[in-house]
């Protein structure tokens, strides 16, 4: 009996701890493990509001439990009529004034943080500072395009940013409304169809190390059948590495040596190049850029944003995109490919690397 009790205690202790640990979520995804200035600011606001709210809950619960236990009907008192109280001005004033004070305590930092997070002046200067990094984010049905306008470089699906500095974003959508969210790094902003939204984020180097260098990004606005699958990845690297990456991207061209990949290139140039570009410098207007830029496809974290990055999954996607992302715009835009052609294409695509 004793042993059972001890085991039970141990078990419950472990389960509570497990719950607490799980409660923080994953460092690459959870808002509870903030990885940058914005997320930090929001996290402290969350903590402050939670503290105030827990206080409220505790007060209510104490009164509640007392009342429910103390004043329940007892045997033999079924017909007792309690005193009919009209109310009490003193009490009512107390529970009007105290909440007002609590809300004021919350309102001041809220307003101040709201304005701080909206400070995008540096990106809108007539002549931007050289170090101010701006990224144009364009959300499309189930894929993301990231354009670095100051460098003339375009990439998609994997966003690469320097750490420990503010990165500014222009956000828009090309078809339906989406929402750009990197939970661990900071709150979201919608990508609208008729205007450009602007905000900034900061990626913390230490947190990035803890998260393995990659943060998960999500689409947070229902956008159609594959809304759940519209993930993207953020590679946060030190400024120096970022600069190197940009340089490489500027000059990247597909270099194909493998004969099978060469075959793949031929197929690609016949039927895919109309939508997909394979160089990061894509001068076409955005309306013409109807599919993800594949220049650094081989370096990507995921196939289609969700599948593990390997040739098998790529082939699966090429065979039938619909089975991976229902409602995507690629299905049906190209003829039936033979298994051989798919092999060749996969080889070719995987060879597209800048790193």
């Amino acid at each position: 009996m004793k042993k059972w009790l001890r085991n039970w205690r141990l078990f419950s202790l472990f389960s509570v701890m497990a719950l607490l640990l799980a409660g923080c979520g994953k460092p690459f995804l959870s808002t509870l493990q903030p990885a940058g200035e914005v997320a930090d600011m929001q996290y402290s606001l969350m903590l402050l509001s939670t503290a105030i709210m827990v206080l409220v809950i505790v007060v209510v619960t104490i009164i509640f439990v007392y009342v429910v236990i103390r004043f329940r009907q007892r045997k033999g008192e079924e017909n007792k009529i309690p005193k009919q109280v009209e109310g009490s001005h003193k009490l009512e004033i107390i529970w009007t004034v105290i909440p007002i004070i609590l809300l004021l305590i919350l309102a001041v930092p809220t307003v101040s943080a709201t304005f701080k997070l909206a400070d995008v002046k540096p990106m809108n200067k007539e002549k931007r500072d050289k170090d101010t990094l701006v990224v144009n984010v364009r959300a499309n049905l189930y894929w993301w395009e990231f354009e670095y306008p100051d460098y003339g470089v375009i990439t998609s699906q994997d966003l690469v940013v320097p750490t420990n500095e503010r990165v500014y974003f222009n956000l828009k959508a090309s078809d339906v409304k989406h929402s750009f969210w990197i939970p661990a790094v900071g709150g979201k902003m919608d990508t609208n169809t008729e205007n450009k939204n602007q905000f900034w984020l900061e990626f913390d180097q230490k947190a990035a190390d803890k998260a393995g260098g990659v943060f998960y990004g999500k689409c947070a606005e229902l956008c159609g059948p594959s809304h759940a699958l519209m993930d993207f990845k953020v590679k946060a690297v030190p400024r120096k590495e970022f600069d190197q990456w940009i340089e490489k991207m500027k000059n990247a061209k597909p270099v194909v040596t493998d004969p099978v990949a060469k075959q793949g290139e031929a197929i690609f140039n016949k039927s895919c190049i109309g939508c997909h570009a394979v160089t990061p410098v894509d001068k076409r207007p955005e309306q013409a850029r109807t599919a993800p830029n594949l220049a650094n496809f081989g370096d990507r974290e995921r196939i289609a944003g969700i599948l593990d990055h390997n040739e098998e999954n790529l082939k699966k996607w090429l065979r039938n995109p619909e089975s991976v992302k229902p409602g995507n715009k690629m299905t049906g835009t190209y003829g039936k490919l033979t298994e051989e052609q798919i092999n060749a294409l996969a080889k070719y695509l995987m060879s597209l690397k800048v790193e």
Binding site: K177, W181, A228
Partner: protein
């Protein structure tokens, strides 16, 4: 002229309900129809939770999941919660103010049938290609893109039709409460539920027109080539968001204020105490209604309105917490010093306090705009509004159905089964939704049909799914309870719970068709309690016994609504089929034709004679 109290066959009963204008029978209709839609919405919820029980599940994928998700939200708000609230109002409000019916009995019936045909039309989409799939908010860019099926057209037209019914209901209750209170029933003597109905109806009156306009725009864009939301022609989808939320936020209060009203009645009744701080409760209700119109944009913090707008709406939203807090404490102090009897309705009422406080405080957290950038469109928000809607509204509707069941149907629901329902539902509710706060904070966006493993969301989602099944089990037991009660329940007395305070408990259960043989004289708050405390068995009448004027039944409300139902089909398909336009016009002709009939044929109602009333009263007293 009297067709009362005659034995009737099944056909006659059905015909009676199709043509009735009696608020008590319309309450039954709302309860049954709303209950059916509630079960449908519940099944949809179960499907959603089954799909999300484990990562990469393939039970309900992509577009179909979005249809189920959209219909769950739409059904629960428009076709379950609203009509069930209307059921409570119809069943009780006229009696609570000492009236014989609502101000416009014909419109009352029309309101129900419009709601019903609107809901029916919306659900027809399941069988005609596919349901709407752009979420219950149906944001314009996605809902214009969704052209593969007519789902969104069903949404727009169906809700349009049922919305007309809702506005009618709102005006009807306002006029009823303004004009038809019994002598002595001043505004400050009205039961709290009546006050809640009053403010709710005012909110309906002002909140539904923007929604109607939004629907008109959406209909124009989708069916008639309009450009309101088409950016290529200068349109702007943010307008839809604004219109929707100008309606959408008051809608939350439209649902929750009646819930507050129901709980106020129950707390007072089963604590055997007058409602604590009645006048501040009234004040808080009105204030919530007023503030409810100034906060809609907090649903749009991430839309990009800019920091000034976000800050203003954040602070305005926080302000609502104050009147809500006043209410919570007033309820606690109603119980304080009382003699609390834990009946089934009281279980819900007591459980409501901590549950709703949870939903309320997360609401204030959401109001903090900068932090909301993280919460917005995540499972945190899903958890928040389910705490408010289920912990507040659904608890209230379950409580209210148990509380007023004897008044509506003349039989007491089984208390043991009632308490089992309660516990299952209560546990299931917290199991389902508490964990979702954390899922949201851990980065899970809402409205996703699946998720990948290794993101830390597996356990939470599984727990949530298990909870949903508890709630389903509770609903099943409630249904069993209803069946058992209907078959062999005990006949309820007039004052079925023995502690009734308001006028509805002074008339027999169920009440006679005219409610009060003599209009009562009201001498204070809790009119019936006052009489009881003075040792009287009956109310003080305000008029001598006389002939009672009653409105005639009419089949026209059904036909008018049916016409719109037909018209909606026509317009939905008018771009695809040549029969569309004629069918649409025929439908409108049916509707306007029957409206014309209504205005041309005088309907003065009929009288129940004094002798008949006496006879009925005797019978009622005996039973």
């Amino acid at each position: 002229m009297s067709t009362l109290a005659r034995k009737k066959g099944v056909g006659a009963v059905i015909w009676d309900y199709l043509t009735t204008v009696d608020h008590k029978k319309i309450a039954h209709l709302y309860l049954i129809a709303g209950g059916l839609f509630f079960i449908m919405g519940g099944i949809e919820a179960l499907l959603i939770r089954i799909q999300l029980a484990k990562p990469n599940n393939d039970f309900l994928v992509g577009g179909l999941y979005n249809q189920v998700l959209t219909m769950h939200g739409t059904t629960m708000i428009f076709l379950a919660a609203m009509p069930l609230v209307f059921a409570m109002m119809n069943a009780v409000v006229p009696i609570q103010i000492g009236a014989r019916d609502v101000a416009f009995p014909f419109l009352n019936a029309l309101g129900f049938w419009l709601f019903f045909f609107g809901g029916l039309f919306l659900n027809c989409s399941w069988f005609l290609g596919g349901a709407p799939d752009a979420g219950w908010t149906s944001y314009a860019s996605l809902s214009l893109e969704s052209k593969a099926t007519h789902g969104i057209d069903f949404y727009v037209l169906g809700l349009q039709i049922s919305g007309f019914g809702t506005i009618m209901g709102g005006i009807n209750f306002l006029v009823t409460i303004i004009n038809m209170r019994a002598p002595g029933m001043t505004y400050m003597r009205m039961p709290m539920f009546v006050w809640a109905t009053f403010v709710t109806s005012a909110l309906i009156l002002f909140a539904f027109p923007p929604l109607t306009v939004g629907f008109i725009f959406m209909m124009m864009d989708r069916l008639f080539g309009g450009n309101f939301f088409n950016p290529a022609a200068g349109g702007n989808t943010i307008i839809w968001e604004h219109l929707f939320w100008i309606f959408g936020h008051p809608e939350v209060y439209i649902l929750v204020l009646p819930a507050f009203g129901i709980f106020s009645e129950i707390f007072a009744t089963f604590s055997k105490k007058r409602l604590f701080g009645y006048s501040s409760m009234v004040f808080a209700t009105v204030l919530i209604g007023f503030l409810g119109f100034m906060v809609w944009a907090h649903h749009m913090f991430t839309t990009g309105m800019g920091p000034v707008a976000n800050a203003i709406f954040a602070v305005a939203t926080m302000a609502i917490a104050v009147p809500t807090g006043i209410k919570i404490f007033n309820w606690l102090f109603t119980m304080w010093g009382g003699n609390i009897r834990f009946t089934t309705p009281m279980h819900y009422a007591v459980a409501f306090i901590p549950s709703f406080v949870m939903g309320g405080v997360t609401g204030v957290m959401n109001a903090a705009a900068a932090a909301d950038y993280q919460y917005h469109d995540s499972y945190f928000v899903v958890a928040h509004f389910h705490y408010v809607i289920v912990g507040g509204v659904v608890f209230a509707l379950l409580a209210g159905s148990h509380y007023w069941w004897p008044k509506m149907f003349g039989k007491m629901l089984n208390e043991t089964l009632g308490k089992i329902t309660f516990w299952l539902f209560f546990i299931g509710f917290h199991l389902t939704f508490f964990i979702q706060h954390f899922l949201g904070l851990m980065g899970m966006p809402r409205r996703v049909f699946t998720y990948l493993p290794n993101q830390g969301w597996e356990t939470g989602n599984l727990i949530s799914t298990i909870g949903a099944f508890f709630m389903a089990a509770a609903t099943v037991i409630l249904l069993i309870n209803i069946v058992i009660t209907t078959v062999k329940g005990e006949k309820a007395e007039a004052d079925a719970w023995g502690d009734g305070r308001t006028l509805e408990w002074a008339v027999s259960s169920p009440p006679p068709v005219y409610n009060f043989a003599q209009t009562p004289l009201v001498r204070g708050l809790d009119a019936y309690w006052i009489e009881k405390m003075e040792g009287k068995k009956e109310l003080t009448p305000a008029e001598p016994l006389g002939d009672i004027h009653m409105p005639n039944s009419s089949f026209l409300p059904f036909i008018i609504s049916f016409g719109l139902f037909v018209a909606a089909f026509g317009f939905t398909y008018h771009n695809d089929h040549s029969w569309g336009l004629p069918v649409g016009i025929i439908g409108l002709l049916i509707t306007f034709g029957s409206m014309f009939l209504r205005s041309v044929i005088d309907d003065h109602g009929f009288h129940i004679h004094k002798e008949e009333v006496l006879e009925l009263e005797k019978k009622g007293a005996k039973a």
